[in-house]
């Protein structure tokens, strides 16, 4: 079964996104820690898209799909393509460097990479699709 959620690009909608993910994840045998990690990973991508890619433009929507099986949960986050972000070229910066440079940003995608088992970003026509998957009970 696919769960679908669509919101416009407002910061305050991040809470609604987290509530949506939380509700869907109750269907899976996850601990509170695992559930929080997955909510966080989705929140990080969505906040990047809402704030940085779309500058909190309420006329633009992002869509979230959650598909699952007994072994895997797949999260898709779809938005209008703006910058052709090439995730395959992204390398996690070191935390030490972020601290030394007194950066408030730069941590979100590190978390996404550490939490999810697979992350890919595809450009399809005028849309950009983040696909993130997590094996259940994979350790």
């Amino acid at each position: 079964m696919t769960h679908h959620f669509k919101v416009n690009c407002l910061r305050d909608n991040l809470k609604l996104i987290r509530e949506f993910v939380q509700t869907v994840l109750t269907e899976y045998p996850l601990s509170e820690i695992e559930t929080n990690q997955l909510i966080l990973a989705v929140d990080e991508v969505c906040s990047n898209l809402i704030i940085h890619a779309h500058d909190c433009n309420p006329d633009i929507n992002i869509e979230i799909n959650i598909l699952g099986s007994e072994e895997l949960i797949l999260f898709e986050i779809i938005h209008k393509n703006t910058d052709n972000f090439d995730f395959s070229q992204y390398k996690n910066p070191s935390l030490k460097k972020i601290v030394q440079e007194r950066r408030k940003g730069g941590i979100g995608l590190i978390l996404v990479n550490k939490i999810m088992d697979n992350v890919e970003v595809k450009n399809e026509n005028t849309f950009n699709i983040w696909r993130m998957s997590k094996y259940i009970n994979a350790g």
Binding site: Q37, L40, I51, L95, R103, K104, G106, I107, I110, L111
Partner: protein, 115 residues
Amino acid sequence: MQIQALDEDIFHIIQINGDVDAASSIILDKAIEKAISEDKKNILIDCMHLNYISSAGLGVFVYYIEDFKANDVFFALFSLSDKIKNIFEILGLNKLINIADSKEDAKHLRNDSSL
């Protein structure tokens, strides 16, 4: 998200209630900035009622680490739930920021560090 700040002996305690995300992290940022500007030397963050934190909130702590060192400020978080503590551990932030189980433990950490 709501923030309350209070002074207890030598400690300035900032209590967080709710979710710290990209929409609300600015409130936490202002509270810590204010504490530093008021020359508070022992800042504790009460996370008992912190329900959720994203990278925007973590980034606030990361941003001030160098300020705390430069201004000789003791800084610690206490009473984190297991799910919140886990996020600090994923990043390795628990090695850069003092994390205590309780307020009393956080105060002891400060006293031990000043010996």
